[in-house]
Symmetry: C2
Amino acid sequence: MKNMLNLDAILAETLDAATKGYPPSSPPLPISAIGAQRWSLFAGELPLPQAVIRDSALAHNHAWMRDFTTSTGVLLAPHGKTTMAPQIFAQQLAAGAWGITVANVQQLGICVRFGVRRIIMANQLIGHAEVGAVLQLQEAHPGLEFHFLIDSRAQLASIEQLAPAHTSSRKLNALLELGFPGGRTGARTFDEAFDIARAIAASEAVALSGLECYEGLQLTGDSGRDESVVAALMQRVHDLALACDREGMFAGPAIILSAGGSAAFDIVARDLPIQLSKPALTILRSGCYVTHDSGFYNRMLEGMKARSGAVWQARPGLQAALEVWSQVQSCPEPGLAILTMGKRDASFDLEMPIAGKRYRRGSDAAPQPVPASWKIVNMNDQHAYLRFSTEADAAPQVGDLVGCGISHPCTTFDKWRVLFTVDDDYRVTGAIRTFF
Amino acid sequence: MKNMLNLDAILAETLDAATKGYPPSSPPLPISAIGAQRWSLFAGELPLPQAVIRDSALAHNHAWMRDFTTSTGVLLAPHGKTTMAPQIFAQQLAAGAWGITVANVQQLGICVRFGVRRIIMANQLIGHAEVGAVLQLQEAHPGLEFHFLIDSRAQLASIEQLAPAHTSSRKLNALLELGFPGGRTGARTFDEAFDIARAIAASEAVALSGLECYEGLQLTGDSGRDESVVAALMQRVHDLALACDREGMFAGPAIILSAGGSAAFDIVARDLPIQLSKPALTILRSGCYVTHDSGFYNRMLEGMKARSGAVWQARPGLQAALEVWSQVQSCPEPGLAILTMGKRDASFDLEMPIAGKRYRRGSDAAPQPVPASWKIVNMNDQHAYLRFSTEADAAPQVGDLVGCGISHPCTTFDKWRVLFTVDDDYRVTGAIRTFF
């Protein structure tokens, strides 16, 4: 198997109460033994705040994406930056992913360490330590297939300057990044991109293995507008791919065409594939689908469903697998409750966490949906402000547990060194180790 | 010594390239051996991004705060949540700090583990796992002096319900929190606070060890307004302290009066001390002074200097010790450079990082100040957008290193498991381990 991971080092790692979220009165345990403890969130066996991943939703999302890629014929290299959790990478590969995407050389190193052997760094390779590390990894792992991005002659020249200093038995593989005016990285025009492609094709250190773009930053959630914007970018990738292919610039047995796809994978999967002189691999890099969310990506999915045909509209969508639970520590004035959760614990960059569930020990048998008025309006480092209507709805009480969905999984994962997985009764079934 | 820490476990911990920022091609090393490597940021021996703490600024800030507390007579329990680094706690205690403040029971556990024996949890104690852990820590460490906050009878009742389930040889120590309308936690009125104080004083599980308030959220940077707002809160603390003292509600040999103080420690140190029937300990909990910053807290310090007398205005202020360095990976269009640093690496909650220094290998002997127009305008998970004037100023180039000051140290520290300390030549002198 090309992509079988070895997670032994993670499973053998011992956790204790130095790790946020670990039960403070429990003895140290190896990660492999956590699930057997069956700690219960609602029985008070876990400290709060607590970020949990719901097993059932995670499994659903893996299956959903496997079906999507199978039915559309695209390949998936899910962005590992979202979770930075080799245990989840292993699940993604087992569900059919072609490889894993990373954002930098530290993340690349984590993937290689645990056995991932097909990796796209959806970012420019730059820097002395970084280029050296990539050359070293390629030499140490002959089976490693690694692609990174180039978007300027200056970047290519800096790599060429650093590469000869090392003994290298094979070239580095670069995807040329095509961008758009006002965007992030990526060559802005066909002429500029074609010029860089020509330079890469002529390089003794680097081979051109394909093209890359990232359409995510252009999306607004306006389904019609998003469709035309993304389709136009895919067309520009086609034009460039055909031109490079005509000139024989692409090295290797196949040509990679990759786009982001987290928020518009329907359009990418439909419009990016193209016939070239060699097999073209269409690779999506969606990262957030795996836990999905209760905010931004959920709205984007709605847009996707609106655009798609009846088959996809009838299917259940992705499910929000990631929740952050905290406790009401104070109800200091009418309409305000303060929760034991803050900027250190939950995403706040796109919007505040979304209060969704409430559990009151002693009176609730299971978590209840929160009243409609409950809304997290602000967070400090270690506190959240929950506002609610004092007229219509039931008020929270000191000691209540509140479960929040989040918007943008990446910035919740990076706040936890370990996240527990839970069953539908919120009993812990295992521990997921992150590497940020 | 009451507060000598044992850092052996940290110093013996082995780091390797799985840790963000660790040189990817270096062999694993114990933390104690990092400093001897003398890795150079500018020689390309470190991967980027890299968060560094400048030794000289850190030492300056320790000395500055020691002078401040000595000259004003207040005690300091610096908020550990800022750094969550026992190595820095040890420096703070060596510089005269009375104890350490924490935000939750996980942070309390870290402090106790490494030997801190005077701890204030500037937060409500709530929850089954949390109360159990506190009782267990108190039993296991007879020398531990621990105070937490109470701001409601409901919270007190929940603690009393959980406490009898354990064998406890001594009461828990609680500070009554006084708040203000529109604020965060804390009893809003004198009557409400006095009622809770009475309940605590009558409790068999909890003793009233003092009063607490947090003035930080009221501050705006408008020096005159801030002064009157904070002075009014201190007056309310006095009124409540005198009333509770008259009724003999305070247990223990001394009475603690504690305020936040990060952004207005001058006013707190001047206005909070009071004469009571027992010795009153005035304890500030400032956390951010230790690295200071280049944004919010620096503006607050300017306000403090404006309010203070000639002596403090003439002295040098706190210095920004924390910087995040990254590299220009792309200059894709006029006036825009993209840096290898994002929301995972640097604070963005109060404002974007502040570009301050630039280093170009091959042409610069030392870091240069950046041109006036350079400004970080946005960050994604792993990228920053640097805008600059194409007319007046020198443009960044692909490969340039850019050093950014940050605003709000707490939310940069929590993005790094290890931060390197550096000398004035940006050579690594050691590694600081964080516990988030």
